[in-house]
């Protein structure tokens, strides 16, 4: 290049041009930016994204499962019961709670809210349901609880030990609870109750040699879980 010739006035661009072809650490800069990009996107993907995706919603008031379980005889089924036709009642309706809570029994503020704003006004409590599945899903509690003798905790977690309701985080795009995909954004789970997506059901329902009636998939027939 021109380094041996009589030096022309060196302007900044020439210096810059002179240094770009093989700058000290040029490749390093590329790598640096790559790493910065990588790191930033990982932060976004792993931390920012989950925060932005879910909005925190609050239940109408808090509920203490542990305390209530001490008061009833049949454990979960005392309030989450099977009807005579085999369907599952889900979250209890006002009529079930009013059996005891016609008037305020204890001293908590939550119960006061319940009795004043709901029992007295005959309004159903608009609970946010953690396990709510899309309309295409048909789930039979009878088959799993009575048939397969699964414990409630297997899918719903140790709710009976909780003294307050876990936070409800709603996915802004789909409208379903964070508990469906799982609290962990990676979708990896440690406990059976961490996730409730179709693949989690399939874990049992594709057991080879048992659920195999579908011609297309070799697993359980589609209509067993879908409607």
């Amino acid at each position: 290049m021109s380094s041996n010739e009589d030096p022309k006035p060196k302007d900044v661009t020439e210096v810059a041009h002179a240094s770009s072809p093989s700058p000290p650490g040029g490749g390093a800069y590329l790598l640096l930016f790559f790493i910065i990009g990588l790191a930033l996107s990982m932060v976004v993907g792993w931390a920012v994204f989950p925060k932005a995706l879910y909005s925190k919603k609050s239940q109408p008031f808090d509920f203490n499962h542990k305390m209530h379980l001490e008061q009833v005889d049949e454990s979960c089924e005392s309030c989450h019961l099977f009807r005579a036709d085999g369907t599952f009642s889900g979250s209890p309706r006002l009529a079930q709670c009013v059996g005891c809570h016609e008037e305020v029994l204890g001293e908590s503020e939550d119960e006061a809210i319940f009795v004043e704003q709901y029992v007295a006004q005959e309004r159903e409590v608009p609970w946010l349901i953690y396990a709510r599945q899309p309309d295409c899903v048909f789930f039979s509690h009878a088959a799993h609880v009575k048939g397969a003798k699964l414990d409630c905790a297997v899918c719903h977690g140790p709710t009976e030990t909780t003294e307050s309701l876990k936070p409800y985080e709603e996915n802004r795009i789909t409208g379903y609870s964070r508990d469906i995909w799982g609290h962990s954004i990676s979708g990896l789970k440690h406990n059976t109750w961490d996730r409730m997506k179709m693949d989690d059901c399939a874990a049992c329902h594709e057991t080879a040699g048992i659920h195999d009636s579908s011609v297309q998939t070799g697993r359980d027939a589609c209509f067993v879980c879908h409607k």
Binding site: G86, P134, C136, S140, K146, D212, S213, S214, C222, F223
Partner: protein, 287 residues
């Protein structure tokens, strides 16, 4: 002692429809619409667009007055077993695994969330039993209150068809599990059309189960035999009055029709068809 679903004797749900009793009243059609959240539009006279999971056709012997005879044929999805149990025409062509054959029950199901509306299955079905939602269903304001939560309402772009009311089977199994048993009894699982038919023309049940009425009426031969064209046929009825639609195609359907009239039985397999047709329609699917 868990066994594969297909190892113990599987069920084969099917129907026997007595065409001597069928009056063509259409109650089966409306019972199905009501049970399965089937949509409706203001003009339903274009029968190529009208969604009727159960459809009552009218055929005639083509004779002049006063020797004219007509017969009504209710046609739900035939739940074809196809050849080699499970190769129903529609199941074989679906690219989205939206339609499936259950070897345990013989039911061909349609799952709306997987269907993307290519309509290949509609082309494959020889019975015109599948319907496409060209438009989003609209229920007049307030009418959505009568929709059943047991069947998902569909959106546009989805194919739908008769499901043998499998949601009722699931609900019956719910009850069975709750009662501590695994098997569902004959009367606990009946389709909406069977239940509604005022003439009692439809019988529904397990064709494999000798205790079920439909088996006793049809007396199906459960061993595979080959017809003249070498196509494997399963379930040929031993009742001489029973026939299946287009049996020679080897679709091995589960809907058996009974008629004491020979021209009707022949019409079922296309020897002699006179379909009531709209002169302006491209196809002759008629009534």
């Amino acid at each position: 002692m868990k066994e594969a679903q297909t190892k113990h004797r599987p069920k084969r749900f099917g129907m026997a429809i007595d065409l001597d009793k069928c009056t063509g009243c259409g109650a089966c059609m409306v019972a199905c619409f009501s049970e399965n959240n089937v949509p409706f539009r203001e003009d339903e006279s274009d029968k190529r667009r009208s969604i009727t999971w159960m459809k009552v056709y009218k055929i005639t012997n083509g004779e002049k007055f006063p020797h004219t005879e007509v017969c009504y044929i209710p046609r739900p999805c035939q739940h074809c077993a196809g050849q080699h149990e499970g190769h129903s025409p529609c199941v074989s062509v679906c690219p989205a695994t939206a339609t499936d054959y259950s070897r345990e029950t013989g039911i061909v199901s349609q799952i709306y969330t997987r269907c993307f509306g290519c309509r290949y299955c509609m082309g494959a079905c020889p019975y015109h039993a599948r319907y496409f939602n060209w438009w989003d269903p609209i229920w007049p304001k307030g009418m959505e209150r009568y929709l059943s939560p047991n069947v998902s309402p569909r959106m546009r772009g989805i194919v739908e068809k008769c499901s043998f009311c499998f949601h009722r089977y699931q609900l019956a199994r719910n009850k069975a599990f709750n009662d501590g048993r695994r098997e569902v009894e004959e009367k606990e699982y009946q389709t909406a059309c069977t239940q509604a038919c005022p003439a009692g023309a439809i019988t529904f049940g397990d064709l494999n189960n000798p205790a079920h009425a439909v088996h006793q009426i049809v007396r199906p031969n459960l061993h595979e035999e080959h017809n003249a064209a070498g196509i494997p046929i399963v379930g040929k009825a031993q009742n001489p009055h029973a026939f299946r639609l287009l049996e020679r195609l080897g679709t091995n359907t589960k809907i058996y029709y009974l008629s004491s009239r020979e021209w009707v039985r022949k019409a079922g397999d296309n020897y002699q068809v006179q379909m009531e047709s709209d002169p302006h329609a491209a196809d002759a699917s008629g009534h």
